[in-house]
């Protein structure tokens, strides 16, 4: 792939990369800065870029590394959330009725609970369920074995089903998931 093709591909992936970084950072750092850093790094080392399907895990490996570096150097919670609060989805945006409102309340709560997960669980969940990487590609992106990724995904989903275990509480001592959504909404979407 030439430089023009690479630019076009990066352009295509920009929005997804930005959102991935924002979900992984969970409002603790600036995703724009992280993505810019990642893209510049990818452009600088484009000679080592893989071909075809190897390109995506390669790019997201860079993004995840930049996120880790950003989280390491930024004090937790120092950056304001980008755009609306994480997981804030209103029913008016979708134009659905009360059933849709309940479902979107569940999404909102679920996204908030995901943000409260530790990075080791949050990153594989975002990469797999949002970015669309396979378990093998997630393994490449985070530098762990596929079995570990599988285990992390399993654990992440289990902890999301039990929001009290997420461990993040608001100022009143309530779990973070409960802060953004009534408890039954999560259990409603649980298997």
């Amino acid at each position: 792939m030439g430089d023009d093709g690479l630019v076009a591909w990066l352009d295509e992936e920009y929005q997804r990369s930005f959102c991935t970084a924002a979900l992984v950072l969970a409002g603790q750092s600036d995703p724009e800065m992280i993505v810019r850093e990642s893209y510049l790094r990818a452009w600088r080392f484009r000679a080592s870029l893989g071909q075809g399907p190897a390109m995506r895990p390669w790019l997201y490996r860079i993004v995840v590394s930049a996120c880790v570096a950003g989280l390491r150097t930024s004090p937790s919670g120092s950056m304001p959330p980008i755009g609306p609060p994480f997981g804030e989805v209103t029913s008016t945006a979708t134009g659905e009725g009360s059933g849709g409102r309940r479902r979107h309340d569940g999404w909102r709560s679920l996204a908030g609970a995901t943000a409260a997960l530790p990075l080791s669980l949050r990153a594989p969940l975002v990469l797999h369920y949002f970015t669309g990487l396979s378990e093998r590609e997630v393994a490449i992106a985070i530098g762990r074995r596929p079995a570990t990724v599988r285990s992390r995904l399993h654990e992440g989903r289990s902890r999301l089903a039990a929001p009290d275990d997420v461990g993040v509480v608001d100022g009143a001592g309530r779990p973070a998931a409960a802060m953004v959504s009534p408890q039954p909404a999560i259990h409603e979407v649980a298997r």
Binding site: V35, L40, V64, R108, Y129, R191
Partner: protein
């Protein structure tokens, strides 16, 4: 185990991502920055560079300062190690105070007083303690050296009593180098000189050149009257090039007097026992007195033998002269009297180059240690970062 539905999670994350406002100019800005230089680190912090890039720049500064500090420490270590190095041993102080090829020795003051001669035999350039011996000559590399050995004399400072003659036991050795075919003539001349002064050659040994490649040499031991030892030594030194002169003078007056007193006492005892023998009547008394007489006679003969030996040693001084033929390649190459300025400059340039190479070799060790230390720190840092990343991700 209860788990979140995958589709629901996927939809929740998609919905959450839908609320994120993605800057539309973001990719264009990045491409502008990328086209400005392939190295992202070249982006100036003032034109909108990210805090991360500023951190990277700061990190590079910290790394540069750390490297500079490490190099400074290594440089200090090098300078300290060079400063602590002791100067090279030099024979300068030894050779500077002694004129080359000059034999120097000091004899006991009592000997000097008795003979009326000056304390040193030949223009002394330095003094050694009384009663000690001095060895002087050329070392293996041809450098003149003087080594005063600290061998104390066994003669206590006993004053002369009743005008008894002072007894000095003097020995010496002389090493000469002569040219080509002069080995036998020099040895013969030494013998004739000793004979002319009233002495005699007590031992002569010569060794002609053999297959071993060693030059011909000879050794002659001369007994010279004690009063003529100084004269003979000075004459012998003129026969060749002096390599080594060693003399030793010991005052034996006290020992001589002791032996004489011992002999006198033993003779008196002997006379007493002889008188007793004449008055003895029983066989037991006779045998007892005879036993005592035999013992006294044995002691008397031993003391008289020692006295004769000491008398001989103090009458004649012993000088061992070693004569060797000089090797042909020992002739020194004459050096130019005063090199020209160009030659001196060239010599200085070569010397400077050699000094520079030596300096480089000298600092190579500490420098290598410093580089290895930095590499180790870098490797540890990398390992720590990877471990940290694996732990949190």
């Amino acid at each position: 185990m209860t788990m979140i539905d995958e589709d629901m999670l996927r939809q929740a994350l998609q919905a959450a991502a839908g609320t994120i406002s993605v800057p539309t100019e973001g990719i264009d800005d990045i491409m502008v920055l990328a086209s400005g230089g392939s190295d992202a680190g070249h982006v100036e912090a003032g034109d909108g560079a990210s805090p991360s890039r500023r951190r990277h720049g700061r990190r590079r500064w910290v790394a540069a300062v750390a490297v500079a500090a490490a190099l400074t420490v290594v440089g200090l270590l090098v300078s300290v190690s060079i400063g602590n190095r002791s100067p090279l041993p030099s024979s300068g102080p030894i050779t500077a105070s002694v004129a080359p090829n000059r034999a120097t020795t000091t004899v006991p003051q009592r000997f000097a007083a008795a003979t009326g001669s000056p304390p040193s035999l030949h223009e002394p350039s330095e003094k050694v303690p009384s009663g000690t011996q001095a060895v002087r000559g050329l070392n293996a590399s041809g450098t003149p050296v003087t080594v005063p050995t600290t061998v104390p004399t066994t003669v206590p400072p006993v004053p002369t009593t009743g005008g008894a003659p002072t007894r000095i036991e003097e020995t010496g050795s002389l090493s000469l180098t002569v040219g080509g075919h002069r080995l036998q003539p020099v040895i013969a001349q030494l013998s004739s000189m000793a004979t002319a002064l009233g002495g005699y050659p007590s031992d002569t040994e010569t060794e002609q050149g053999s297959g071993s490649g060693s030059p011909p040499s000879g050794t002659v031991t001369l007994e010279v009257p004690e009063g003529s030892f100084t004269l003979f030594l000075s004459q012998a030194e003129r026969l060749g090039r002096v390599q080594l002169v060693s003399t030793k003078a010991t005052d034996a007056t006290g020992q001589y007097g002791d032996l004489q007193s011992q002999i006198t006492a033993l003779e008196a005892s002997q006379q007493q026992y002889l008188l007793i023998m004449t008055k003895a009547e029983s066989i037991g008394d006779i045998l007892s007195v005879q036993s005592q007489l035999d013992s006294i006679d044995s002691q008397l003969q031993q003391a008289q033998g020692q006295l004769q030996l000491l008398n001989s040693e103090t009458t004649y001084s012993t000088l061992v002269v070693t004569v060797s033929v000089a090797a042909r390649h020992t002739r020194p190459v004459p050096r130019p009297a005063s090199p020209s300025g160009l030659s001196r400059s060239w010599h200085d340039a070569v010397q400077g180059f050699v000094n520079g190479v030596e300096w480089l070799i000298r600092i190579a060790g500490p420098l290598l240690f410093g580089i290895l230390l930095l590499l180790g720190v870098y490797a540890l840092g990398r390992l720590g970062w990877r471990t940290y990343r694996r732990r949190i991700l």
